[in-house]
Every structure is written in structure tokens, then in C-alpha cells.
């Protein structure tokens, strides 16, 4: 999914809010801004108020409070003293990993976390220490496809742990989160 900035209806101020939010990062995924993660769902700016809706990646993400504080501060700087800033987390539509932008995917890869595949009905069996599911994500270090999923669970709710058989490195991948495909 591409950046939503093109869809904004009211030009300049909303664009500045978007740009301010593009400076806010998820502390658990430091390389990516929240706009690249696809968390920013809606921006509405008028002379009186600015409203921003955010979509949590995972409901239990402990970084949500930090993201909210940082985003509020960023929007407040753009809003100036006259406008009421309202920022909330909403759950519709559900956030899916397809919302991460191309730039976000590149940043994740550079950071050493393989981005989730998009759309292809990816098979992702957790607990491959039991199942030995192969080829679920490419290695972010050597690019090999010869990888094993160790566990669908990792250091954060949004990451899985894998092992690369080519370069013998353990690595992490952003967990795909998308509706089951028929």
C-alpha cells in the first residue's frame, strides 16, 4: 500500500501534519516511521482542530503509548496554539502488514528485519522448530531463500525468529498479518 498522502483532501495543513508524523518512529521498529508502517489512517485538519486516527499494528503492542505521545507532540507543533489536537487509536479497518510502504520495507531490510511478503497468500507456519517450515522469508543479510522459521514469536509481538542456512545467521522477520485467503 502506498503512502496515503495523495489521498488527503485538504492540501497544505494536512500535508504538514503528515510530514510531522513521518518523523515519529515506532520504538520497537526504530528504522520505520509510523507513516511508513501504515499506522496513520486518517488526518483531518480545519481552522479549529486537527484529528488523527492511528491503527495499532498489534493490539498488545507496548509501544502504543509512546507512539501516541510522540505523535501528539509532533502534531501539536504543526497545529499551533489555536487548534485542538485529537489523536486516537481506532480498530477499523484492522491494520495489516500490507500497509507497510515500499520505503518501510526497504528500511526494515536494511535494519536486519525481513519485511513481510505482500499479498501472495503467504504460508507462515509458526513453531517451525517443530514444523521446519522452509522458505518463509529471505535472509536480510545474504538474501538467501534457504531459511527456516524457528518460531512465529520473537522479541516483539510483530516479529518472528528465523535462521538462514546459507550464511548461518539467526534473523528476525516482520510477522505477516493479513486475513486468511480462501
Amino acid at each position: 500500500m502506498v503512502s496515503r498522502v495523495d489521498e488527503l483532501e485538504h492540501g497544505a495543513l494536512e500535508r504538514r501534519v503528515w510530514e510531522a508524523l513521518a518523523e515519529v518512529h515506532d520504538p520497537e521498529i526504530p528504522p520505520c516511521s509510523i507513516t511508513d508502517l501504515g499506522i496513520v489512517e486518517r488526518i483531518e485538519a480545519t481552522d479549529e482542530a486537527i484529528e488523527v486516527d492511528l491503527l495499532p499494528t498489534f493490539a498488545g503492542c507496548p509501544a502504543l503509548d509512546v507512539i501516541r505521545q510522540d505523535a501528539e507532540a509532533a502534531v501539536a507543533r504543526v497545529a499551533g496554539p489555536g487548534r485542538l489536537v485529537t489523536l486516537r487509536f481506532v480498530y477499523s479497518p484492522p491494520w495489516t502488514s500490507d500497509r507497510i510502504t515500499e520505503q518501510g520495507r526497504e528500511q526494515l531490510r536494511h535494519y536486519g528485519v525481513t519485511p513481510p511478503q505482500q499479498g501472495a497468500g503467504q504460508v507462515f507456519i509458526p513453531l517451525a522448530s517443530l514444523e521446519r517450515a522452509e522458505g518463509t522469508a529471505d535472509c536480510p543479510f545474504c538474501g538467501s531463500h534457504d531459511t527456516l522459521l524457528e518460531s512465529a514469536f520473537g522479541p516483539t509481538l510483530c516479529r518472528a525468529t528465523l535462521f538462514c542456512r546459507a550464511c548461518r545467521n539467526p534473523f528476525e522477520a516482520f510477522k505477516p498479518k493479513e486475513p486468511a485467503r480462501p
Binding site: F58, A59, P62, S92, S129, L130, S151, F153, K177
Partner: protein, 291 residues
């Protein structure tokens, strides 16, 4: 607390199951048999507690309390979780058997509630489903691993299933006010209907690995008194099958009472109060604390 809107009993049943089982799962943090499972149970616990929080948030206007107060500020009789969720973790096989049974059952009820006429609930359920998928896959992977594994693993897993399956059936005990929830479309299907779907699938899973005997023969007879759905107390004698679960025309069906029923009306096992004391201890010691 539950005299008013029946939607509250639905929310609390769902949320209290997640909170209380999440609390039990979190007890594995630092103690699971290996690091991947430590992370798995810690992550699953984190998800379950987050889902409880979403549902408590929806309950706030109905109950007139803040999120934390709904989660931790109620008396034990105001919690509507099923007994299955409050039982101590036991051994690793028991934990995995319970996780498999709970998450397969949870998937059935979430699938139904995703089309609830209560739009706010349906939205949250769709978010939960995307995350529960990983719990379900985790439970299923361990099911195959242990059921088809070495003799000792298989035997321990069978013991775990036998010890938990009766109380897992009671996850589908009808809710107070269910008739109104059905009439309003908040619940698209009856609890009994969901139980039938889950039980049939469970029977097939168990038969596929020849473990269906856990449905027939459920631990040694204890002679315990068993409450039934009608509120009657039935005396157990000799070996108890899973009460009310019978095989008919090649399918496993529910026909009668519940083992460990009463959770949906605030009745709990002897294991609940110690859990409640620990879970709510901080909240009670420091009312209104923020973190």
C-alpha cells in the same frame, strides 16, 4: 452488576476468559521448557491481555467503570470466565492441551461474532482474529507434535486433554441473557450451536490421531457432584465420561450438562480466588495507580 444490558455478560465472558488465561500463560515467562516457548507463551499472554483490554474498553460505558477498574476492580463473583481458564498450569502437556482446546474454541466463537450486528464488537473481533491465528497455529502444531510423538509425550498429552476437555466444553455454557443477545443479532448463533461446531471438529481431530478416547473416558471417577446447565446437581459415579458428550451417528455431540459450569454466572472453582488475589493485588494495594 449484570442486571442490565446482556451485552455486558457477553463482553465479560469473552474478556475475562482472555485476561485470566493470559494471566496463567504469563506464569510460564521465564519457566517454559525452552526459549522459543518462553517467548511464545509470553507473546500469547500479551495478546490475550490486550484483547481483554479492547473488550473492557467497549464495556466501559455499559458498566460505568474505567478499563483498569473493569479488569481489576471487580469482586471474584463478578468475573465470568470459564473454569478452564483459571486452572493452574499443571505440567507442560496440560498447558498445551488447554491452549489447543481454548484457542480452537475461541476461533469458533470469534468467527461467529465477526458478523455480530453490534458493529463495534465485530470490528474488535476482526482485529483479534488476525492475532489469534498465531495462537491457533501454535496449538495445532503442538497437537500434531505430541499426538504423533513418542509414547511418553503422547501419553502425557492424552492425560492433559482428558483433564481439560470437560471444562473446555463449558466455554460454551449459555450466557445470562443469551435470548436477548440472539434476538438483537449481537450473537449471530447460540452457544449450543457453536459448541456443536467445535465439538464435531474436535472429535475429528482426535479421531485422526486415535485420541478420541479422551472424550469417552475422562480420568478416574471422583464421585464429584457435577452442576448441569439447568442448575441441577448430578452425582458422578465411577468413571465419568465428559458429561453430556456422546457419540451419535459418527459425530461427537453435546447432550446435557457441563463439567465446571457456572463460570458465566460468576461461580468459580477453588483455584480462582488465589489467582484473583494475585492478579488484582497491585490494583487493590494502590487504588487508582497509573502505569
Amino acid at each position: 452488576m449484570l442486571d442490565g444490558d446482556p451485552r455486558l455478560s457477553l463482553l465479560l465472558a469473552l474478556a475475562d476468559d482472555e485476561l485470566v488465561l493470559g494471566h496463567r500463560h504469563a506464569e510460564w515467562t521465564g519457566w517454559a521448557p525452552h526459549i522459543e516457548e518462553d517467548l511464545a507463551f509470553s507473546s500469547i499472554a500479551q495478546d490475550e491481555m490486550a484483547h481483554a483490554r479492547l473488550l473492557y474498553g467497549l464495556a466501559q460505558p455499559l458498566v460505568g467503570l474505567g478499563e483498569d477498574s473493569v479488569a481489576f476492580g471487580r469482586r471474584p463473583v463478578d468475573y465470568l470466565n470459564a473454569w478452564l481458564c483459571e486452572r493452574p498450569n499443571g505440567d507442560w502437556a496440560y498447558t498445551l492441551a488447554r491452549q489447543y482446546l481454548y484457542d480452537t474454541a475461541d476461533a469458533v466463537r470469534l468467527e461467529a461474532l465477526a458478523s455480530s450486528a453490534w458493529a463495534e464488537l465485530a470490528e474488535l473481533v476482526k482485529v483479534m482474529q488476525l492475532e489469534e491465528k498465531y495462537h491457533l497455529d501454535h496449538g495445532r502444531a503442538w497437537f500434531r507434535r505430541l499426538a504423533e510423538g513418542p509414547v511418553t509425550a503422547r501419553q502425557k498429552f492424552a492425560d492433559g486433554l482428558a483433564a481439560t476437555v470437560g471444562e473446555a466444553v463449558a466455554l460454551f455454557e449459555p450466557l445470562p441473557g443469551e435470548e436477548r443477545l440472539l434476538a438483537d443479532g449481537v450473537m449471530p448463533r447460540t452457544s449450543e450451536d457453536l459448541l456443536a461446531q467445535w465439538l464435531e471438529a474436535l472429535g475429528q481431530d482426535l479421531e485422526a490421531v486415535s485420541l478420541d478416547f479422551v472424550l469417552e473416558h475422562h480420568g478416574p471417577g471422583t464421585g464429584e457432584m457435577v452442576p448441569t446447565s439447568s442448575g441441577e446437581i448430578a452425582g458422578g459415579e465411577g468413571d465419568l465420561g465428559v458429561p453430556g458428550v456422546v457419540r451419535r451417528d459418527g459425530r461427537w455431540v453435546h447432550d446435557g450438562g457441563f463439567t465446571g459450569g457456572g463460570g458465566r454466572r460468576g461461580r468459580h472453582s477453588e483455584d480462582f480466588v488465589p489467582l484473583w488475589e494475585e492478579m488484582t493485588g497491585l490494583y487493590r494495594a494502590h487504588p487508582g495507580a497509573k502505569w
